[in-house]
């Protein structure tokens, strides 16, 4: 089912937001406004946004260490996201989680896992909850090609298939894990094949094409919501930058190769062109971009001007129902 022009414009808005959010993140790492690192998802915007747009607002999403795009795709508030990257009290996780460990329960984004692969069974659990409660929700778990080598991925596929749980396994295959090429770590490069062994419907799509990702994911969501159980969607995509800004990891991909990929397969640029081709006028596109640029500027300002958490509140949120506070000892 092709996206309507409005949907495409919305997809563009979200993808451009992800792009600019990541750019702002990297910039603020360089400026020292963000502690730690920034796992940019630039290059993967179509994959993240296409998948998220196939979900209803209260469907569950579990992300990874590279989830800014996932949360923005799902509709998270970017002011609170940016404040989280900056470790501020106004951050969506009150500055406790940080860049790699964001979550926005208000849009169903329950958590993102800094433990590679660790989010997959959590998404399965969310799907179990939807199934038990019969509330019509589905759960989507993002993971990378690297994560697909964790045993819990298979364990989770098997359980999802045995019980027919409403789960979408969404593998963003960018062919690289930190500095390691998938070529050296995957006996079979297509992750989708691994779903076969459990009889799970699966599809490989061009992860640079938001429409293809949206379509495939929508079908998977429809199956899940219709009681037909889990599916796996593999998006072949590209991480444009290094593993994380703030670290200085090179990887096997040559500058030459990356230049070509960026030139030919930039999902944001290509969607912009497609929008123009489909008749949306340049002014409308510029309006979207201006709106996003302003929102990102505001998010950065919001983050910068927000207070840090009060150092004395370091043990808040240790427990939902604290019993006794043996742990409060900083001396």
């Amino acid at each position: 089912m092709p996206l309507t022009t409005d949907q495409k414009a919305e997809a563009y808005r979200r993808m451009y937001t992800v792009r600019q959010f990541e750019n702002a993140g990297v910039q603020n790492i360089k400026r020292g406004n963000i502690a730690g690192v920034c796992h940019s998802s630039i290059g993967q915007e179509a994959s993240s946004v296409g998948a998220c747009m196939a979900l209803a607002p209260d469907d569950y999403l579990i992300g990874t260490h590279r989830s800014h795009g996932h949360l923005i795709g799902k509709g998270a508030n970017i002011n609170r996201l940016m404040a989280e990257l900056m470790g501020k009290e106004t951050g969506v996780c009150k500055g406790r989680g940080g860049e790699m460990h964001i979550a926005d329960a208000s849009v169903g984004a329950l958590s993102t896992s800094g433990i590679v692969g660790g989010g997959i069974p959590l998404a399965l659990g969310a799907a179990l909850s939807a199934f038990v409660k019969g509330d019509g929700k589905v759960a989507l778990g993002f993971f990378g090609d690297g994560a697909s080598n964790q045993g819990v991925f298979y364990e989770s596929m098997n359980m999802a298939a045995v019980w027919g749980l409403p789960m979408i396994f969404l593998c963003e295959n960018n062919s690289v894990a930190a500095v390691t090429s998938a070529e050296n770590t995957h006996a079979e490069r297509d992750i989708a094949k691994r779903a076969e062994a459990h009889g799970i419907p699966n599809i490989i799509v061009d992860g640079q094409d938001v429409e293809a990702v949206f379509d495939a994911t929508s079908e998977a969501v429809a199956r899940a919501r219709g009681g037909e159980g889990p599916s796996l969607v593999e998006t072949k995509t590209h991480r444009f930058d290094s593993h994380a800004a703030g670290l200085f990891f090179g990887d096997h991909r040559s500058e030459e190769e990356m230049r070509r990929v960026k030139e030919e397969q930039d999902p944001v640029v290509n969607l912009r062109q497609a929008l123009k081709d489909s008749g949306l006028d340049e002014g409308k596109i510029a309006d979207i971009e201006a709106g996003v640029d302003a929102a990102i500027k505001e998010a950065v300002e919001f983050g910068l001007s927000s207070p840090y958490p009060d150092a004395e509140r370091y043990s808040d949120y240790m427990f939902a129902t604290p019993v006794r506070a043996n742990y409060q000892d900083l001396r």
Binding site: G97, A105, L110, G125, V152, M159
Partner: protein, 323 residues
């Protein structure tokens, strides 16, 4: 007043789970071979019972699933069965369940219970006999119960299932058949983090973990005959630990013996000793004594295993070293 009835320790587990599952459809149970670990598994039966999930042998996966289910509003009881298998599930328990409430700034609750039982004793050998509660006590963000009586089991487990944080339950399989009086009500709840003075005394404090209680009580009886009055305390909850009750007792007795089936190094006994040596030092008249298993794997051969665990005689000997 509430009537009492006599039930076994394992019955207490089953009753707590069954009652809570009946009362709340969000309470679900998951694990392998579930029926084996109930006094009466009939309540787990019934096709399409969405509260019961017989899992594949995938400890890491189904534990993660339990955590995710809790994040999305269920109240799972994840049965890991033999405690020696918890290492496989330790990542989702420690890195996810224990941390996500904090890491999400309080957005996410994880009302999950993780069951595991000690299968020490009886020649189950090193890969089936661990008592690994200490490794979880060392992890912030987890609550841990280790009840020793049917009443404590039922009351604490019911509280745990209703609690909004992840709780680990360590059962001692040695006690499964042990009977005891339990209030005959669906609302028998015991708060987490409160120790129980199982026997009051004045000369020495004996803190016992889980089934060690019974060795402590027997030792106290023996000591009484020699005119030594021992106070026996069961913390019941290992995290958070009720040090107040222990410190108060030591303030009175000046002597402390801690008894734990865990290996000596970094046992629960170690933490209690460390804490009292820090916060109760001035009360202490004599060195703290730990009575534990040695830092050696549990051997298969009964000829070797027999001597491994704390017992009343070892406790009496420890008390005599400091009286």
């Amino acid at each position: 007043m509430v009537e009492m009835k006599s039930i076994s320790y394992l019955q207490a587990v089953t009753e707590a789970q069954r009652e809570e599952m009946l009362a709340n459809p969000d309470v679900v149970i998951m694990g392998e071979d579930l029926a084996l670990y109930e006094s009466d598994p009939s309540y787990l039966q019934g096709a399409n019972n969405k509260q019961v999930w017989h899992t594949p042998i995938s400890e890491c996966g189904f534990t993660g699933m339990g955590v995710g289910a809790a994040m999305a509003g269920l109240r799972p009881i994840v049965n890991l069965t033999i405690a020696s298998f918890v290492y496989l599930a330790s990542d989702p328990i420690i890195n996810q369940a224990g941390k996500l409430h904090y890491m999400t700034g309080g957005q996410i609750k994880i009302p999950a219970v993780f069951r595991a039982f000690y299968l020490h004793q009886g020649s189950n050998a090193a890969q089936h006999s661990d008592r690994p509660h200490p490794m979880f006590m060392a992890q912030p963000g987890l609550k841990i119960i280790a009840p020793s009586t049917p009443s404590d089991m039922k009351g604490l487990l019911k509280t745990a299932i209703r609690d909004d944080d992840p709780v680990l339950l360590f059962e001692d399989a040695v006690l499964w058949a042990k009977k005891g009086d339990v209030p005959d009500t669906d609302e028998h709840l015991i708060p987490l983090g409160v120790a129980d003075i199982k026997r009051p005394g004045t000369d020495v404090t004996i803190v016992t973990i889980s089934s060690c209680l019974y060795h402590g009580l027997k030792a106290a009886e023996k000591l009484e005959k020699e005119g030594i009055s021992a106070e026996v305390i069961d913390p019941r909850t290992l995290a958070p630990l009720d040090f107040d009750t222990i410190l108060e007792s030591v303030a009175k007795t000046g002597r402390l013996v801690v008894v734990d089936n865990a290996n000596r190094t970094l046992s629960a006994a170690s933490e209690i000793a460390a804490n009292v040596s820090e916060n109760g030092f001035d009360s202490l008249k004599k060195p703290i004594q730990r009575v534990t298993t040695p830092d050696v794997h549990i051997p298969f051969s009964p000829a070797l295993e027999e001597q491994f665990y704390p017992n009343a005689d070892k406790i009496v000997a420890a008390v005599k070293r400091i009286i």
